[in-house]
Symmetry: none
Subunit: 262 residues, 2 copies
């Protein structure tokens, strides 16, 4: 973020709303440049873009931004936006535990009429600010560290539903395509989500590709689409192609023979 963008941010926060014209004159640059600036800031959800200007971002979305430091936040927000773009209005979805999925919840706030079932207290809190949503929270034991809800009761609860999209995060992906996580309880819930979703979206940043975790969650062929920031290694790409899994990356680095979006 450059100097000008910093100043734009503080101006917006001071005044609530500024036009692009004003900013352009202020900084002696063309409106197009300002547009690029506020687009970049808007992608990070540091402000909200409007036709003709920019305003403060709506409250809930960045309350936690200041208090919580999330690793690779910027990448996660971009992945979140990308994922949200593939969810239609009025869809029914599962969202599970994870910082990435919480970002997705924020990105989904501007949708309409979603039906969302989640086992994540934070996700429920975030989505509650949109009155057109119907939010169902899964019952069970609340984990103190991240507000996740797990346990047998949670799994039973999830099994009551069958939804359009299951959105899951993950801790690691093995080179052979095994999906991995650290927490046994969380894995059980994720499996239940996969079983009861018509389509499964896996959202994960590039750091998960070369990590290891203990508990086997499932196999990559159980998902329908992968959303990530960087283009994965050729090996993973092949694996995805073999299993007919859509790949959506934030940065569209050129790689031959594969579908991408945005």
């Amino acid at each position: 973020m450059n100097q000008r963008q910093q100043e734009i941010l503080s101006l917006v926060q001071q005044q609530g709303f500024i036009t692009i014209e004003t900013l352009a004159q202020n900084f002696n640059v063309t409106p197009q440049t300002i547009r690029r600036d506020i687009k970049s800031l808007g992608d990070k959800q540091l402000l909200t873009r409007y036709h003709g200007g920019a305003g403060v971002s709506s409250s809930i979305e960045n309350v936690e931004y200041s208090t919580r430091q999330i690793m690779n936040l910027e990448e996660k927000q971009q992945i979140a936006k990308l994922t949200a773009n593939h969810i239609p209005d009025r869809a029914s979805i599962f969202i599970n535990i994870g910082t990435t999925t919480e970002e997705i919840a924020k990105a989904l706030l501007h949708h309409n009429g979603l039906k969302i079932i989640t086992n994540n207290l934070n996700v429920a809190a975030i989505l509650r600010s949109n009155p057109t949503f119907e939010i169902i929270i899964a019952g069970g034991i609340v984990r103190q560290r991240d507000g996740g809800i797990t346990g047998e009761a949670t799994i039973d609860f999830i099994r009551q539903f069958k939804v359009d999209f299951g959105i899951i995060g993950i801790s690691a992906i093995d080179p052979d395509g095994t999906l991995l996580d650290f927490d046994y309880h969380e894995v059980r819930v994720a499996q239940a989500i996969i079983e009861n979703s018509r389509q499964v979206f896996l959202a994960t940043d590039h750091t998960k590709f070369d990590r290891n975790a203990m508990v086997r969650l499932g196999s990559i062929d159980q998902i329908d689409a992968l959303f990530t920031d960087l283009y994965p290694t050729e090996h993973i790409v092949t694996l995805l192609a073999e299993n007919n899994i859509d790949l959506h990356t934030v940065r569209s680095k050129v790689a031959p023979g594969h579908k991408q979006s945005q």
Copy 2:
């Protein structure tokens, strides 16, 4: 949604109803433009359209909740403290929806090793900050306005447990000892809590004694102790005595022949 629409929304929520003419003059645009705005907002169910203007959406009583939260806050905090004093460490408890019960959750934070089952998102969020607690949240549909969780699934979930204390709030108490509330769904949950608690604590401020509400929750003889701020009318006191219900008041106004604490 553009800046003007945001402002229209907050104006509507402030004033309850505004005419299109007023808004048009306010923003220096034609009424036609305002119509388009409120049509768009109405489609999203963020407000309700009327002939000639716009009013608050029926589904959004969020504003009302936040104002209600402040009403009699001090009394509620005192009641909360009083109630918390009667809960021992390591107890298992139900806590239901309500501003008073949320205050009780805060007052319980200094306890140790509590097992708490709740159908209130806010209560879960509050209690999460104590790592010695085990928190179980009931699953079900999340109400936008106050974070309450209700529905058949919620009741089934609660029936799985049997706890030491059930702490419930309430909307009104009839002079004949009938416990009343406004919301049918909430009542069903409260009934389930009463059935599955060894002891039932009712916490309520004095304003509830001369109010009316629609839905019958139960009878006062189903509770074991009443926590309130002011000493109730002689009539209620007699009723409590007849049913052998403990009365605990914040202000110990002298009244003959009855047990009090603090």
